[in-house]
Symmetry: C2
DNA sequence: TTATTTGTATTATATTATATCATACAAACA
DNA sequence: TGTTTGTATGATATAATATAATACAAATAA
């Protein structure tokens, strides 16, 4: 799991870390139950402060993406429960759709992009 | 066009203004060529500083969503050119798909949500 | 037990982003 | 000539972000 952090980005570093780990989980690059690097390891390898990494881990934990047992460090949450998209995700999806529409992107082109994104994700169960 | 601003949100006010106008354009609530309120009017009606509104308008202008002629104020850009989703939009779409997948949301459920969002947008041309 | 490593909490500091406020200006129009 | 438009400027206050230096409880290995 290699993280690419852009220090010049307007996206906060802890958010970049969080996003890339979520991408890793979503695509299957990070398997359920797999161990993440320790806070200090990741801080060392990326040249970022420990507390910044800790903030990303705390966020991932609060969002339910990872589990933490005191000693063994962080692990990808095994067997995430099935469910429906939450309101926050739906809201962001709607904004994306609106941006596409306002840019003159056709409905079908947008949905094609959605399918393209979905197909990059790990297949799970019968889906 | 009524804006709902959440002062307690972590999303900057100028971003909330920008997002809701983009949503308005995308859904068709704001028609191409339609005039937006003046900077000072919108600042007055929302109780927000003029420069904050101006920042939102400048952003919308730089993104190509609105046009501004010096005297008549801001208007929704007429006839946005057709095209394909840009890399920034694709990246955000991919992150959304990853979050859904990592939450155990099936591919089909995610795509169903995508269709739901797309159907809220204005139909244009043959799409 | 002791020692080490884990995530995490604490406090301080520096930098940047955000928002407000008070003005001011050029351009366009009546 | 006025008036209104978007916009620029500078000052200020607050919050978010990142780094830094420690420290602590819990869990593991020695």
């Amino acid at each position: 799991m290699i993280l690419r952090l852009d220090m010049a980005s307007d996206v906060p570093i802890y958010q970049q870390i969080r996003n890339q780990i979520v991408l890793g989980i979503g695509t299957g690059a990070l398997a359920p139950g797999e161990s993440l690097p320790t806070v200090r390891q990741l801080a060392e390898s990326t040249g970022v402060n420990s507390m910044t990494v800790n903030k990303a881990y705390a966020l991932l934990k609060s969002e339910g993406y990872i589990l933490i047992d005191r000693r063994n460090g962080a692990k990808v949450r095994p067997q995430p429960s099935d469910g429906v998209p939450g309101p926050e995700l739906l809201h962001r999806l709607e904004l994306l759709a609106a941006e596409a529409a306002a840019q003159g992107i056709s409905r079908e082109t947008f949905l094609s992009a959605c399918r393209g994104a979905a197909e990059k994700m790990r297949a799970k169960g019968g889906n």
